[in-house]
């Protein structure tokens, strides 16, 4: 190679090359990150959908069980159980009812007149 040809060789501008590569890498990474994020979005959305379905299912199951409990504890069913002898209940006889006298009413100051309160009164 002669001297003239050597003079014509274009130098490699490392700085520019590095800058270009950096921009390309950045753009590539940004693109990949965007795709990754979008994928994450979809995955999370799908997860939310599944959880929502599960919640709806559990709620429905809960309401079904509540309805069953309501039915089993309804007056109609309880009376039927009593009639069938599953629950033993007897009417309370009048002679075994003890009625206590009505409690002393609170007076104007709103304090209930009890032995304890009266004792503590100055």
């Amino acid at each position: 190679m002669n001297a003239n040809r050597r003079k014509q060789v274009n130098p490699v501008h490392l700085t520019s090359l590095a800058r270009c590569l950096l921009v390309a890498v950045f753009l590539g990474a940004a693109g990949l990150f965007y795709v990754y994020m979008k994928n994450q979005h979809f995955a999370l959305a799908e997860e939310i959908r599944q959880v929502e379905r599960k919640i709806a299912g559990v709620k429905a199951q809960n309401e079904t069980l509540l309805a069953r409990v309501t039915e089993l504890s309804s007056r109609r069913v309880l009376q039927q159980r009593i009639a069938e002898g599953f629950i033993a209940m007897r009417p309370i006889q009048d002679n075994v009812i003890a009625r206590l006298s009505a409690p002393a009413a609170a007076q104007a100051d709103g304090v209930m007149r009890t032995a304890f309160v009266e004792r503590a009164r100055p």
Binding site: R49, Q61, T70, S74, R76, V77, R90, D94
Partner: protein, 587 residues
């Protein structure tokens, strides 16, 4: 112009620029001017409005006992365009949907995008079917959320609660009158689906949550309702009447504590019931009230000063000729006071009081007691009854109406009429709805008791009440209405049944007893009415048929309400016929 290279280049550039300008203008037109229109069209292609169903409000009794609730179910639908293997799908799904494979295949054979396979499928069946489909990797069957209304107490209180139609709208009872509170408002959300029909969550759009229905709390006490229903059942079984009605109300507030009719129906299966079973006869049946109506003429005559407490009225020894007809009493009575006329239930004494008052004044009191007008209770189909004004009366009406003939009233009107006496002369508006609450139990609307009008002064009401306690006492017509430990006041009624073909049906009677206790401080008013009891003719009286039922209801209701007995218990008088009472098992 010379067609040089420069000119040609300029021309070509201009043409290209023009083409791009036109395209750009069109682009701007589409993107800016037509943006909304095309965005809407695109959205219509992908998005759909998903309804979020509002939950119907619950119904409770006054103590929070659940009377109507919702059971989640699913509607199973098929999308014909998604079904690839109909035979496999039929083999898997048909048994779970309670269908034959042939039925299933026939349903899906049309290939439509929306085929309802079965409604009201239980939640657990739907879950099992969904899992089986997923496991077998079959597509084409989908589930829609739905709910059915359930009434845990079955027939009990069926007439008051009512039921829903197939669109989940109330069509009878409280379900109908409280529809706007119970129903709620459906919400919505805009969603997008992928080609398999699954929602793409990322593109979920505008959302408005459902506004769930409000809960309704009734004035009904299910403890008292159960007592009423049980006693009516026994009476209906033993006496085999055409119908029986019982109402229990609080005279001071107008609250209906219990209301029962026989025959009745199960609101869980309204389709199985005949129309006669569905009638709430307490408010939509008209009957002649009979002697229970005598309280109106007695109150009116006393209040107007037509008669005094001690005024003696000659009862013609049991036979009174008026208007060309003879009016009779069961026994021949001489001169009696108002008190005795009520105790002995004298038709002639009542007729004479009305004659002394005059038709206009008497009619005024009939209306003041609430007869001939709707009471305003929150139940559908209430009728006003039939009370003709004096200008349409014939010669006999003035003597027949005081004893509860020549007019028609509802059982509820009789109950509220007696409540006037029990409540010191004030007529309350009957109410069956106590409050409306949100799902957290916060009261949204509290309905206070409402006084319709003061019919008579307290003094007159006290006098009539005292006379009515004599009806249940020694020598009265309703000794069998006694309740051990309490002073009962009330009035019997025995009216011949009006025939649908005109006149009266021979040998058929509507008998009733309406009373309250304790007389000194009434806690409840109770009406028992029995239409055409199958019992010996000589025994078909209010005092013999309806009064014992009242007595049993009164005794159990007093125990339920924990009323303290004020009297020493007396031995019950002997019964005129074999009582329908079932004796409780001795310990």
């Amino acid at each position: 112009m010379r067609w040089t290279a420069r000119t040609r280049t300029g021309f070509a550039c201009g043409a290209v620029a023009l083409i791009f300008t036109v395209y750009s203008a069109r682009l701007v037109h589409l993107q800016v001017a037509k943006h909304d229109e095309y965005a809407r069209l695109a959205a219509e292609k992908h998005t759909m409005r998903q309804v979020i169903h509002a939950r119907r409000g619950l119904i409770f009794d006054r103590n929070g006992e659940l009377l109507a609730s919702n059971l989640p179910v699913r509607t199973v639908v098929a999308d014909g365009s998604h079904i690839k293997d109909p035979d496999a799908l039929a083999r898997l799904a048909a048994p779970l949907l309670d269908m034959t494979e042939a039925e299933f295949r026939e349903k899906i054979s049309c290939g439509r995008k929306y085929i309802v396979l079965r409604r009201e499928v239980p939640e657990d069946t739907a879950v099992a079917l969904g899992q089986a489909l997923q496991k077998a990797s079959l597509r084409g069957i989908y589930f829609e959320q739905d709910a059915v209304r359930i009434y845990p107490n079955g027939q009990m209180l069926g007439h008051v609660l009512g039921f829903l139609d197939s669109e989940s709208s109330g069509i009878q009872g409280v379900e109908l009158t409280m529809e706007k509170y119970l129903r709620g408002r459906d919400g919505f959300r805009f969603i997008e689906r992928d080609r398999t029909g699954r929602e793409i969550m990322l593109y979920r759009g505008q959302e408005e949550p459902a506004d769930h229905g409000l809960n309704v709390r009734l004035t009904i006490d299910m403890g008292l309702q159960a007592i009423l229903e049980e006693e009516l059942d026994v009476a209906f079984h033993d006496l085999k009447p055409e119908m029986a009605v019982a109402i229990l109300a609080n005279p001071k507030t107008g609250e209906i504590l219990a209301m029962a009719n026989r025959p009745c129906f199960d609101p869980n299966r309204p389709g199985d019931a005949k129309p006669e079973q569905m009638k709430n006869r307490a408010i939509i049946d008209m009957v002649e009230p009979g002697s229970t109506f005598k309280i109106v003429v007695a109150s009116g005559a006393l209040n107007e000063g037509t008669v005094k407490e001690k005024t003696g009225i000659f009862c013609e020894n049991g036979s009174f000729a008026y208007g060309g007809k003879i009016l009779r009493d069961h026994h021949g009575y001489g001169t009696m006071t108002v008190h005795d006329i009520l105790v002995k239930s004298s038709n002639i004494g009542s007729a004479k009081m009305a004659l002394m008052m005059g038709d206009t004044k008497f009619y005024e009191y009939v209306r003041r007691f609430g007869f001939g007008e709707r009471s305003g209770i929150e139940l559908p189909g209430e009728i006003p009854g039939l009370v003709h004004p004096p200008h349409r009366w014939d010669n006999l009406t003035i003597t027949r109406m005081p004893m509860g003939h020549a007019l028609a009233v509802t059982p509820l009107q009789i109950t509220m009429g007696m409540s006037v006496i029990a409540n010191g002369g004030k007529l309350m508006t009957p109410q069956i709805v106590r409050s409306i609450e949100d799902s957290d139990g916060r009261v949204v609307y509290d309905k206070p008791p409402k006084v319709s009008r003061e019919v008579i002064p307290q003094k007159t009401a006290r006098f009539v009440s005292n006379a009515l306690s004599g009806v249940v006492g020694q020598g009265g017509t309703a000794q069998l209405a006694r309740v051990a430990g309490f002073t009962v006041a009330g009035k019997t009624g025995t009216a011949q049944k009006v025939s649908p073909t005109g006149g009266y049906a021979p040998g058929k009677y509507v008998v009733s007893f309406v009373g309250y206790l304790p007389e000194e401080d009434p806690q409840f008013v109770c009406l028992v009415m029995v239409d055409d009891a199958k019992i010996a003719g000589g025994l078909n009286y209010g005092g013999l048929v309806a009064a014992p039922i009242f007595s049993r209801i009164g005794e159990r209701a007093a125990r339920h309400l924990d009323l303290v007995p004020a009297l020493r218990a007396e031995a019950a008088p002997p019964l005129a016929f074999d009582t329908t009472r079932r004796t409780p098992e001795e310990p």
